[in-house]
């Protein structure tokens, strides 16, 4: 296996090179142990498909999504304007990210602050790689006949109407895609959005991730596929709370591709 190549924008700029895309890693992808695995999986795919990419590394900051949704516009503006300064200095045109919260805010909210980029979510990017033939999913692989259910994240689904690209990937894994009762535009939130990830739940009968994972378990799926680091955490916690670790695995789509193709 060839050695992984991960360069920063600064390193590239020093060489006078410009990458095709900037991989926006995000806070979860950078710091959260579970989400890091998705970052690594996606990096492996980028390498395997010879995609010229760079990361911002230490120059990347939080996009400001949780601060803005909590209501703290000051903190959001500070971090967002800082990021836009960095991105514009490097002349970034195209960004891919593994986090739908980063995706939504970079794509829809940064333009009003002076940050205009083509922003795509990694599930769209992966689907495009498959369409272009750059990733060939070997049929009959690890997931042949496995029951997989797909959890729509709110920020990819309802917020941005992306429902099909991730499902197409799952179909090409030769897997048996089963839908939960609440899916696509009716999909149930994992409970993390709107800065809920960073606080305790308000008083109630149940945690939202438990409600969601029960629905996933009801489908008898072996795997719950996700597209968001926060959903990943919430759903995994749900699986643990229901003591179903032996029966149900929660993976990001990028991880499924890496496993299928032994990257």
């Amino acid at each position: 296996m060839t050695k992984l190549k991960i360069e920063t924008m600064a390193e590239m700029a020093a060489k006078g090179a410009e990458p095709e895309i900037l991989f926006w890693v995000g806070c979860a992808g950078s710091f959260d142990a579970r989400a890091q695995k998705v970052t690594v999986a996606f990096t492996k795919i980028l390498n395997a498909t010879n995609t010229q990419f760079a990361i911002l590394g230490k120059e990347e900051s939080c996009t400001g999504d949780p601060a803005r949704r909590a209501g703290n516009e000051f903190v959001f503006q500070m971090t967002a304007l800082q990021n836009i300064e960095t991105l514009n200095t490097y002349g970034v045109k195209k960004i891919v990210t593994t986090c739908p919260h980063c995706f939504n805010i970079l794509k829809n909210e940064y333009p009003a602050l002076g940050g205009n980029y083509e922003v795509i979510h990694h599930t769209q990017f992966l689907q495009a790689l498959i369409d272009e033939g750059k990733i060939k999913l070997q049929g009959g692989g690890a997931f042949k006949g496995k029951k997989i259910t797909y959890h729509d994240s709110c920020y990819l689904g309802r917020s941005n109407n992306i429902y099909e690209a991730p499902r197409k990937i799952l179909e090409q894994l030769d897997s048996d895609l089963v839908e939960m009762k609440r899916c696509k535009s009716k999909g149930l939130c994992c409970g993390a959005g709107g800065a809920q990830m960073f606080k305790e739940d308000e008083p109630g009968d149940k945690r939202i991730n438990i409600e969601r994972i029960e629905e996933a378990i009801d489908t008898k799926a072996d795997i719950v596929a996700a597209n968001c680091p926060f959903c990943l955490t919430m759903l995994s916690d749900g699986v643990k709370a229901k003591e179903q670790q032996e029966n149900v695995m929660v993976y990001d789509l990028a991880e499924l591709i890496v496993q299928n193709n032994n990257l």
Partner: protein, 459 residues
């Protein structure tokens, strides 16, 4: 002749009171701040056609959608008959359109009759769903008292209306038969009319008049009742859908004032900044919304367009898992608060003039209004803290109401103006501000890269 005078008088009274009530309604909507909603009329008309006229979003639930569709189409078509009632009422004519339209007239009235029967069936089923089947969304905390009565009143009104239509047409049919003029040939009343031919003609004439007057009186009553009712959606759904947002649901509105402030703090160029802006600022600006005055007029129109169906709440993950948040309640609260302010303005309740302005004026306006209350007297912080911003409520609403937009503006007020909010959020804010990450972590942001490459070297 007496009939014509009575009718004209009734029209004048209804429209007189109506004009006042609907002007107040318009004023209440405009209590909100300005928001320029324009552009892309093509997309807006498409929404109007598909979502408002076509009821596209209703059809996510088939049974209520079909039943509602019957009542809705019956309502639309009856407008033709209503027009005729007005002409007949003013001129004293009888079935004014009939000689001009001939077969088309028979067809139109027949369609109205068929749809009225379907609407009647739908109404009875709706009453049963509301009162017998205990469908949960009709029995939540916010659906007690007036909202519960209101929901039923409209349905009873609908039954009376349909009964009047058939009384009118069937008695008319019987009179026509007795007078030897043959049948009108309307789809349903042609079968009821013959059953009444043995009744005294005088009584039939009276019956027909009772039907006719009953019908139009119900219509007038509806017009005056709507501003007090959730049923206002039959009018407001259309403009509300037309003015609904076209940008992606995930996009939050920017706050240019804060952006410019931060830009100048960071030494970045600020576009279109008035150099004297600071000097001109005689009041501390309000951020977000604490009351309907801080919301956009569209948020308030949303509230008045809400028919309290509860689809938002049954799809809300927080509500599903027993939290206090109910998007429907948020909408009802905004409407109630707008109504409260409106009533105080109408009464010129001078006690509500801001204390510092009391000496200057004796007229209460929205600009000097301060009754010591705001939206937080209606909506608790616990409710807005429970929101996951998942957009399920927005997606669920058949008339494109956006409760999330209001929740987020309340959150902005809480954090920016009150400097309150859940204590657990503070470390997140501080961490983003100080280290650019949502968590306070000792590691560098690219440590995963060095870790990964190290691991590869070892392998």
């Amino acid at each position: 002749m007496i009939g014509q005078i009575a009718f004209t008088l009734l029209v004048v009274i209804t429209f007189g009171i109506g004009y006042k009530k609907y002007s107040q309604l318009r004023r209440n909507i405009l209590l909100g701040r300005d928001e320029d909603i324009s552009g892309d009329s093509g997309a807006r008309f498409k929404n109007l056609l598909l979502i408002a006229f076509g009821q596209k979003k209703m059809f996510k639930r088939l049974l209520p959608a079909v039943l509602h569709f019957f009542i809705y189409v019956a309502f639309l078509l009856t407008q033709v008959e209503l027009l005729e009632i007005f002409i007949d009422g003013f001129t004293g004519s009888h079935r004014f359109f009939r000689p001009y339209l001939g077969g088309i007239y028979t067809l139109t009235i027949s369609l109205i009759e068929i749809l009225s029967v379907l609407a009647l069936i739908a109404t009875v089923i709706f009453l049963a769903r509301r009162n017998l089947f205990k469908i949960p969304r009709f029995h939540m905390d916010e659906m007690t008292g007036w909202p519960k009565i209101d929901g039923n009143l409209i349905l009873y009104g609908e039954i009376i209306l349909v009964t009047c239509i058939f009384t009118m047409n069937s008695a008319d049919e019987a009179i026509h038969l007795v007078e030897g003029k043959g049948s009108y040939g309307f789809a349903i009343s042609q079968f009821i009319g013959p059953l009444l031919t043995n009744v005294y003609t005088d009584f039939l004439v009276m019956l027909e008049r009772i039907g006719w007057w009953g019908h139009i009186m119900m219509v007038f009553a509806f017009i005056l009742y709507l501003p007090f009712s959730k049923h206002l959606h039959i009018l407001l759904a259309f403009p509300n859908v037309y003015f609904s947002r076209l940008q992606p649901a995930g996009e939050m509105e920017n706050m240019p004032m804060i952006m410019n402030e931060v830009k100048s703090m960071m030494g970045l160029p600020v576009e279109g900044m008035d150099e004297n802006a600071d000097a001109n600022m005689d009041e501390i600006p309000q951020f977000g919304a604490s009351d309907v005055f801080g919301l956009s007029w569209k948020n308030i129109m949303d509230a008045y367009s809400c028919t309290e169906c509860g689809r938002c709440t049954t799809n809300c993950p927080a509500n599903i898992t027993g939290k206090k948040l109910s998007p429907r309640k948020v909408m009802m609260d905004v409407r109630d608060r707008a109504e409260e302010i409106g009533a105080k303005l109408d009464a010129n309740d001078t006690r509500c003039i801001k204390p510092e302005l009391k000496a200057k004026t004796q007229t209460l306006t929205k600009d000097n209004f301060d009754d010591g209350k705001n939206l937080f007297d209606y909506i608790t912080k616990e409710e807005i803290h429970a929101c996951t911003t998942c957009n399920a409520c927005v997606e669920a609403c058949p008339v494109t109401i956006n409760p999330l937009d209001i929740i987020l503006q309340l959150r902005r007020h809480e954090i920016l103006d009150l400097a309150e909010g859940p204590a657990e959020w503070t470390p997140m804010f501080t961490s983003i501000e100080n280290s650019g990450a949502v968590w306070q972590v000792p590691d560098d942001r690219d440590k995963w890269v060095t870790d990964l490459l190290e691991k590869e070297d070892q392998a």
